[in-house]
């Protein structure tokens, strides 16, 4: 496969435990790739291997088809989970220092910083010391510094922690815009709602192993429990009798006048037949397939592998 970023069979052994056990991921170009997993699964270790901070014991990381080297890190923008700034340094000065470390010239860096500071409406912070900023404010500065040098690959480790809903939205939109401008984005998070919203692909890691990976829609389809949610008007008893064969009623949440059932399809009964059967007895308000949330998938997949051991 000719992917933008590939990690293949990466193994990393720490003194007492195996952090990564033959983990492979494929990140297609121009996508947003969610790296998921419970705490201590090895996400951060994998990210550190991708960013060349640590080296794997086995396996390799390919960047645009070639083995990743130290030179490639200038094409990476990395926002680590453990992130901070020098407290005593001024915001502008420090941002300039960090982007210069990424290989930008002073004048370019200054110009771009001005642009981003205006965009985020934080020009007044330029001469403030970092210790005067709140955590969320500092995060904004860190975000800007990460994306400023137009990296081809962006890696965000828990980018939304510390942001209020307004700023979370701001950053989320910024991430989407960066993808639309051609950047490839890897991000790890615990917030599953944000995964559903912005990820194209995911990999779920647990105990150093990849337990799930691929296109997010395909994964969700794969975890479909073949259940449907029905809302209707009419007599529930008649409906029950009509559904007798082939359809199982899982739940019956009662909510006011509107009938509400969660149905499970059995024996691969075609959906059209289900609808016909229902339609002949009650008035359908809505009928839709239940798509599992990433939250459910996460819990099921992780617990599934935990039980196996």
């Amino acid at each position: 496969m000719n992917n933008f970023l590939t990690a293949s069979n990466v193994v990393k052994q720490f003194a007492n435990h195996l952090a990564l056990d033959k983990v492979s991921i494929d990140v297609p170009e121009g996508s947003i790739f969610g790296l998921l997993g419970p705490n201590g699964a090895g996400k951060t270790t994998l990210i550190r291997i991708i960013t060349q901070i640590t080296a794997p014991d086995e396996g390799e990381v390919l960047f645009r088809g070639k083995k990743m080297t130290m030179e490639d890190v200038y094409h990476i923008g990395y926002l680590p989970e453990e992130r901070g700034l020098y407290k005593k340094m001024k915001v502008g000065e420090q941002a300039l220092y960090l982007v210069q470390l990424k290989g930008m010239s002073r004048t370019d860096g200054l110009k771009k910083l001005k642009y981003w500071f205006e965009k985020f409406e934080i020009q007044s912070w330029w001469d403030k010391k970092v210790e005067e900023l709140s955590k969320g404010m500092a995060q904004k500065v860190q975000f800007i510094v990460t994306v400023l040098h137009d990296p081809k690959l962006l890696i965000f480790d828990e980018p939304f922690t510390g942001f209020d809903p307004i700023n979370t939205n701001l950053v989320k939109n910024e991430i989407l815009r960066l993808r639309d401008n051609g950047a490839t984005i890897v991000f790890s998070t615990h917030i599953m709602a944000s995964v559903e919203e912005i990820c194209d692909h995911i990999a779920l890691i647990n105990k150093g192993k990849t337990i799930l990976d691929g296109n997010i829609d395909q994964i969700r389809a794969r975890f479909k429990p073949d259940t449907y949610e029905l809302k209707f008007k009419g007599d529930a008893q008649t409906l029950r009798r009509a559904l007798d064969s082939g359809i199982e009623i899982l739940e019956e949440p009662t909510r006011g006048d509107v009938g509400h059932l969660i149905l499970k399809q059995q024996r691969r009964m075609p959906v059209r037949e289900m609808v016909t059967a229902i339609n002949s007895t009650v008035d359908i308000i809505s009928f839709e397939e239940v798509i599992p949330s990433m939250n459910d998938i996460f819990i099921r997949a992780v617990e599934g592998t935990n039980h196996q051991q």
Partner: protein, 445 residues
Amino acid sequence: MNKINLIIQREYTTRVKKKSFIIMTLLTPVLLAALIFIPGYLVTKEDNQTKVIAVIDKTNITQGAIPQTDYMKFEYVTGAEVETIKNNFDKSGYYAILYIPENVLVSSKVQLYSNQQTTVGVNEHIVKALDGFFTNIKLKNENVPLDIMQRIATNINVDTIQWTSTGEEKSGSAEIVLFIGYISGFLMYMFIFMFGAQVMRGVMEEKSNRIVEVIISSIKPFQLMMGKVVGIALVGLTQFVIWIALTFGIFYGTKYVLLEKSDSKPTTSVTANIMEKGNTGMAQAANTGKYEEMFKEISGKFSAVNFPLIIGCFLFFFIGGYLLYASLFASVGSAVDNDTDTQQFMLPITIPILLGLFVMMNAMQSPNSSIAVIFSLIPLTSPIVMMARVPYGVPYWQLGLSAFLLIITFMGTIWMAGKIYRTGILMYGKKVNYRELWKWLKYKN
């Protein structure tokens, strides 16, 4: 390389721009000079409060033997006893009572009574005057003629002359060599400790600020560590150069103020002054002469000291010793989460430095004792101990061997520190012990 320069630049400028650095750099030489000059100056300087001292002279011969000064008057009281003046002391306005007993020539003792501790200035003045006076009387009693007395007055000064392997002779002064050895050894100790600890604090700051991972995503951990070490070394060198410049500046400045100013007065007016003001003028002229002599002596003695060699050695041993210890300090800083955890790792670093300081104290007295020689070769103590020996002259093979061992060792500690640092900076919330550090050393990457 470009990136390392950025790190060095940041480490350097943020420290040099600090107010505490500027104040310390400018003030230390002034304080040091003040520490040397002021106590001496204060002791010799008279109080500007007039003190009248009652003299009860049972020998009846000392009248006029103790010269009056601007602030010290001696009043001979005849027929009174110490007790009677004592009873009226407050009303009398006397500062003290000088009692010269009849048998002073035998006992060599006089008493100075007062209701307060008399100053050193007063005591010295009396001792100096009476010493000379009674010596002269004794000599006279032994029938020694006046001209012989003047001829035998001696004041011995030892000029030490050292010959080198080339047969060249240098005159020097043991005290000056001792003094320079002490100052440079102590300065070395201070610099290594101070700037080494700064490296540690810098590393801990980056770790606890959580900025370190942001930085090492664009630069290798080893480069970050070395950038910090080099940046702080430059801060130390800057301070050293400024101190050297200021010290010489203050020395020549003081010399100019004290000498050139009084030199510019024509001699005649000085003589006129003496005529007019008597004692005061004489004292002034004597002072100028004294300063001139002092400076001549000091510069004479210092001129025998090989400053280029000492400064060169200081720079080399500072860089070597600093690299050795700073890398150790850096690895400690990387391994811990907060100040309190540093204790267990600081001890093995502090002990050799302190040992170096103690041996240095010994080495500046006996620079060629076997202890001094051995410890000036062992890399952990050599920078401090060697500096105390250098002013005395050290065989070149010893300097060379010491330098060689130091270079080998600091390369080793830097390599080791790099390994510990790389793992340590990304390790949070873990109590680290020596076994853990050993494991980190063995990690491949």
